[in-house]
């Protein structure tokens, strides 16, 4: 394992969250690499420094006031009764209209799920889990929904997704209208941990990071040979 690969995994190594094979390989590398060992030491020191940052201490009076205020607000809440469900936002890649209320959204879901003919005939084999504004679209359901205040599911507002046409995959960013062709091998690899890949794209910008790094980063199970094979099959690079 080379230093670049090791350093990319040192945080996970420090957390003990790597599979045994990778953990052993990194330990072996660290046994003879002073620079990577120094990197690991820096990571451990940083974690300790973050851990040492304390929340300002609150005295008994603070909690007394906190409890009193909360009690009053809870009493007001009991007087008001249970609130109506918050409105859901609905957005669908196929260009369906945006709905503002839970009632309309629920009716729309029922209609969509009841009419298979409305779905695309040439569906991709793999689906992309998308994340925006704290909502999540399930990989296995067209219209999974998540209400973050309870455990119910609400509807996502995707901006990044797969397009599949004539047996070709394209990654599309609807916020910029940019697209990137992508190989099926890459899609299969991403499917191992689709949400991690999407999360990387969402938070690290589609064009600011190498897709090679992304493929390697989230595919903890892929061998070096699998990744090399993937690089060669990647269409746009």
């Amino acid at each position: 394992m080379n230093c670049a690969k090791v350093r990319n995994l040192l945080v996970d190594y420090s957390e003990g969250s790597l599979a045994a094979g990778k953990r052993i390989a990194i330990a072996e590398h660290l046994s003879h690499c002073d620079e990577c060992r120094a990197e690991l030491e820096q990571i451990d020191k940083l974690k300790a420094a973050v851990s040492s940052i304390e929340t300002p201490e609150q005295d008994a009076d603070f909690w007394k006031r906190f409890d009193a205020r909360l009690s009053q607000r809870l009493a007001d809440a009991e007087t008001e009764g249970q609130p109506l469900l918050a409105g859901w936002r609905l957005s669908w890649q196929g260009g369906f209209p945006v709905a503002a209320t839970g009632v309309i959204a629920a009716l729309f879901i029922a209609i969509i799920l009841a009419i298979p003919a409305l779905r695309e005939q040439d569906e991709p084999k793999l689906r992309l889990a998308q994340e925006a504004d704290g909502y999540e679209l399930s990989e296995y359901s067209d219209l999974a929904y998540t209400d973050l205040e309870s455990d119910e599911y609400d509807l996502a507002e995707p901006f990044l997704g797969f397009e599949y046409e004539d047996s070709e995959y394209t990654l599309a960013d609807s916020s910029t209208d940019e697209t990137e062709p992508i190989s099926e091998e890459m899609v299969a690899l991403m499917d191992k941990d689709m949400e991690t890949f999407v999360n990387d794209l969402v938070f690290d910008s589609f064009y600011d990071r190498s897709v090679y790094d992304l493929a390697e980063e989230f595919s903890q199970e892929a061998t070096d040979e699998e990744i090399e094979e993937l690089y060669e099959s990647f269409i746009s690079i």
Binding site: K47, V50, D193
Partner: protein, 179 residues
């Protein structure tokens, strides 16, 4: 000690005091988490209050798939996210300084300054990275629990955490600060 599950059941059966017990049990951690996310006491208190109000209103629909504490963190994180997004003040954080002791040695003051610098850097992290860092290091949550709290997979939570650490490390290297 009575479990959260039992207290929830008692509350749903009509025992109002059971919810008060849940508040006392979890308020410190909810408040501390909100403080780390929001960066000031006033906002943290408001988030903590609102978290328990929403929990009170929504407890009947809590299915118990995640732990109660994790569910509280999820509500709190959602509130923090909404408020931070509204304010767009990711870089406006001024850490509330700890009370300075008159006879503090120079090394101690330097350590406090380093902590404040680090707190400022943490406040500039993207929301999910800051969340993952806070919940992992300060609350000791597993990546699965962090994922449940911030609405992503365990793998994504791990990636966010990793990126948070690496960003802070890079900021440290550029600043010349030492730990």
């Amino acid at each position: 000690m009575t479990s959260d599950k039992d207290l929830i059941k008692r509350f749903l059966d009509g025992e109002r005091a059971a919810f008060d017990e849940l508040v006392i049990r979890h308020r410190q951690q909810v408040f501390a988490t909100a403080y780390r996310m929001m960066g000031n006491m006033e906002s943290a208190e408001e988030v903590a209050q609102e978290t328990f109000i929403r929990a009170f209103k929504g407890l009947r629909s809590f299915r118990g798939k995640a732990g109660f504490a994790t569910w509280l963190y999820r509500i709190a994180m959602n509130l923090c996210y909404t408020e931070l997004k509204r304010r767009k003040r990711d870089t406006d954080f001024t850490p509330e300084s700890p009370v300075a002791k008159a006879d503090a040695p120079h090394e101690k003051m330097a350590e406090e300054e380093r902590k404040m610098w680090l707190e400022r850097q943490i406040q500039t992290l993207p929301f999910k990275q800051k969340s993952a860092l806070t919940l992992r290091i300060h609350q000791g949550l597993s990546f699965k629990e962090i994922g449940q709290a911030i609405g992503c997979s365990a793998g994504a939570a791990r990636v966010n955490y990793r990126h948070a650490v690496l960003r802070l490390k890079e900021a440290l290297a550029h600043s010349g600060e030492e730990l």
